[in-house]
């Protein structure tokens, strides 16, 4: 389902321009952005110590961003804002921090 194509490099979703599409390859539970501290567990709804990265990976999956899925960037809000993407027939708003973790192969 998800074969790596050497001719089409993986890029984060944030590298796509509005109107461009890509195929999701992987979601990285990347390092904290902008050098923010990362101590402490995920607070709140998720009591049992699942780390946050796993949680967000799963949430993205549940929203349909599974490997092999086509994603189209519709628009990017100004001032380094969030992404509007089109995936599986619906429109999602994704914060930049989230979009940075989604890696795609650019579709030509």
């Amino acid at each position: 389902m998800e074969k790596q194509n050497p001719n089409r490099p993986e890029v984060p979703l944030t590298a796509l321009k509005p109107g461009e599409s890509g195929i999701v390859t992987v979601i990285r539970g990347g390092p904290a952005r902008h050098g923010r501290r990362r101590h402490g567990r995920f607070h709140g709804s998720l009591s049992h110590g699942i780390t946050k990265d796993v949680v967000f990976e799963k949430r993205l999956m549940d929203m349909g961003l599974t490997p092999g899925t086509k994603v189209t960037v519709v628009r990017v809000a100004p001032f380094h804002g969030p992404f509007e993407i089109f995936v599986r027939g619906s429109r999602l708003a994704l914060g930049r921090g989230m979009a940075e973790r989604i890696f795609v192969e650019i579709e030509t």
Binding site: E2, R41, F42, P82, R88
Partner: protein, 645 residues
């Protein structure tokens, strides 16, 4: 004939019209509470239909049945443990694939179900035609088309649900067939689970164990930890084959199945061209027109609410104060009269003149914006700004509410995903100048020193929100979450649903705020009658007079402000014996007083709302911090302003 009872649960994604269907079904026979011990809301209602007494539970709008959010966990447990006779799965015909992903998970729970294929009209206008027979066939579940906002198909849906319960027809199962290697592992695990007693279906447990679902893992660990080890091993094998973690593989396959069913049962009839709804979306999220629309709509909303609120508030309070002679005639002007009128009634009036003129219109507009879809666009546009204080776009919504009243704003913080973010948002919200604060700012500084000073105070307040919000975000442990939400198509909301949602919120407000306002007002009145106010003012004078440079009497008025912030101004007029503040206060004193009143404490009702969401301890921290902070800022402002004015 014995009473026939049924328990029906409504389940589905957010924004699919579930609550509209719920309202159609239950009318006013509904009750909104919390799930036991959880901060998740639970809406219940009752209806009578064909000799049945039917209890309906509206489960939270969710996208999945994993356990990564409380809403999901609550819903899953409810279906598995309470075993409703029927689950009505409401799905959005215009976004079939995503909705079916959830449907497939419900089916794995092996619950009796009927599907309400809602928003058929929107799907049609988007050029999506769904072949209902085919969908029914592919899912093996009855599918009923509905247009909930117009009430179309609701009765038939209910009839079908009852018919399905009566027939007790077994569904074909299993529903999602995973890849061969996955199925094989599921089979192996199911054998192991043969003699295990658990509320969930066996196949479901096997699937969830492979996915590493912590909740199920815990339950199995209690009975037989060995199985857990086997599951881990099997999951590892799948990981080896696919190069992705096992739950990813299974989610993918489930989505593939949903996609297949969606594609096979829907037909795209017209070429996808931008519809009116689409154009509106583009306009309202555009980098220029989007922000312009946002600013204009916010200005319009606040202007109309404040105009309306001010007018009706005055009207109402005149009307209610007209009752005073009646009360004095009944209770006399003595001690009892003073306590009944000045304590209880004035507290009540204070509450009523906030709720009707301000809270009701605010909620109406809020729910209109939410149901139409504009709120999610606002969150989208404001995301980057909210990130400056470590929150994401959704947090702008309670902040916006806060300008009207901090109480609904604090309660509104539950739209944030994590408890940490709810707390940070609520903290920021308590610093937002509400309608009552605006009365003070405009009534004192705006009136006597000019609008530019009032604006300066507002700007200063925003600066404080920014700085304190940022500090709080650094201090409170944990990481920021990023925005992730669906932006559904714009649609005309269902007015009755909006009215009902408003009604329930207002009722909630009354329940939280009124008792405290009345008790507080009573306590102050008693202190007044007992002659305690002057001593209190002198006790506070080191702060008010020495540090803040204000008349000693402000100590009392600021205490009254806890009940309702603008009371501090009203009381100031009463105690100083004049409404011309220019005679009794210097310009610097006006600014200092306003600053302190603006920042010093969330009012008593806000504190109650905080307690409800975060418990006593955190609410106390916030309150104490804000009092100290306000006094600090006021004192510094006095010293700085004295240099220039």
């Amino acid at each position: 004939m014995t009473e026939k009872k049924l328990l029906i649960a409504l389940a589905g994604n957010a924004n699919v019209g579930k609550s509209v269907i719920f309202n159609h079904l239950t009318g006013l026979h509904q009750h909104i509470g919390n799930w036991p011990g959880k901060t998740v809301e639970r809406a219940e209602g009752t209806l009578y239909f064909k000799g049945y007494t039917i209890d309906i539970v509206d489960l939270p709008g969710i996208y999945s049945l994993s356990t990564y959010s409380l809403e999901e966990l609550v819903s899953r447990k409810y279906i598995a443990v309470e075993r409703p006779d029927m689950v009505i799965n409401v799905i959005d015909a215009s976004v079939l694939e995503r909705n079916l992903f959830f449907t497939l998970q419900l089916m794995e729970l092996e619950t009796p179900m009927v599907i309400a294929l809602n928003q058929m009209d929107i799907a049609k206008s988007k050029g999506v035609q769904v072949n209902i027979k085919k969908l029914e066939h592919l899912l093996g579940v009855p599918v009923m088309p509905t247009v909930a906002v117009k009430g179309v198909g609701i009765d038939k849906l209910l009839e079908k649900a009852i018919e399905t319960v009566e027939k007790k027809q077994a569904r074909k199962k299993p529903q999602v067939t995973y890849g061969e290697e996955v199925e094989q592992k599921i089979g192996k695990l199911m054998e192991k689970l043969e003699n295990i007693q658990i509320v969930y279906p066996r196949r479901y447990v096997a699937i969830k164990l492979l996915e590493g679902d912590e909740d199920i893992e815990r339950e199995i660990k209690r009975v037989n930890p060995e199985i857990l080890a086997v599951a881990k091993e099997l999951a590892g094998e799948i990981e080896c084959i696919h190069g992705h973690c096992c739950s990813t593989v299974m989610t993918s396959e489930r989505y593939e199945a949903a996609g297949c069913i969606a594609r096979a049962s829907q037909q795209l009839v017209s070429p996808i061209k931008p519809t009116r709804v689409e154009r509106l979306h583009n306009f309202t999220t555009h980098r220029v027109t989007g922000y312009l629309t946002l600013i204009l709509s916010l200005l319009l909303i606040f202007y109309s609410i404040f105009t309306f609120g001010d007018y009706t508030s005055t009207l109402l309070s005149d009307l209610l104060y007209g009752l005073e002679p009646f009360f004095t005639s009944v209770f006399g002007t003595g001690l009892i009269g003073a306590i009944v009128w000045g304590g209880i009634m004035e507290g009540l009036i204070a509450g009523v003149t906030v709720v009707l003129p301000y809270i009701v219109p605010f909620y109406l507009i809020l729910y209109f914006l939410e149901n139409s879809g504009y709120l999610s666009r606002i969150a989208f546009l404001m995301d980057n700004f909210m990130h400056k204080i470590g929150l994401h776009g959704k947090a702008f919504i309670p902040m916006m509410l806060g300008f009207g009243c901090n109480v609904p704003a604090c309660l509104g913080c539950r739209i944030m995903e994590t408890q940490r973010e709810r707390l940070l948002a609520a903290f920021a919200v308590t610093l937002v100048p509400c309608a009552a604060t605006t009365v003070i700012i405009l009534g004192l500084v705006g009136n006597y020193l000019g609008v530019q000073w009032a604006l300066a105070l507002y700007l200063f307040n925003f600066l404080i929100i920014f700085v304190l919000g940022r500090i709080a975000f650094k201090v409170v442990p944990g990481e920021p979450t990023a925005l992730m939400m669906e932006m559904h198509d714009y649609r005309w909301p269902h007015m009755k649903t909006i009215l009902k949602e408003t009604w329930f919120r207002v009722a909630e407000f009354i329940k939280i705020a009124f008792p405290l306002i009345i008790v507080g007002s009573l306590a102050l009145k008693i202190a007044d009658v007992a002659g305690l106010l002057q001593p209190i003012a002198s006790v506070l004078s080191p702060v008010t007079v020495v540090w803040l440079g204000l008349p000693a009497i402000t100590g009392i008025t600021l205490i009254f402000g806890v009940l309702r912030k603008e009371l501090s101004l009203v009381m100031l007029a009463a105690l100083l014996g004049t409404t011309n503040f220019a005679v009794v206060l210097t310009p610097v004193q006006m600014i200092v007083f306003t600053l302190v009143a603006m920042l010093y404490i969330p009012c008593i009702a806000t504190i109650a709302a905080l307690v409800r969401s975060f418990g006593w301890k955190k609410s106390l921290y916030i309150t104490v911090f804000e009092i100290v902070f306000a006094i600090l800022v006021g004192g510094i402002a006095l010293r700085l302003l004295s240099l220039v004015m």
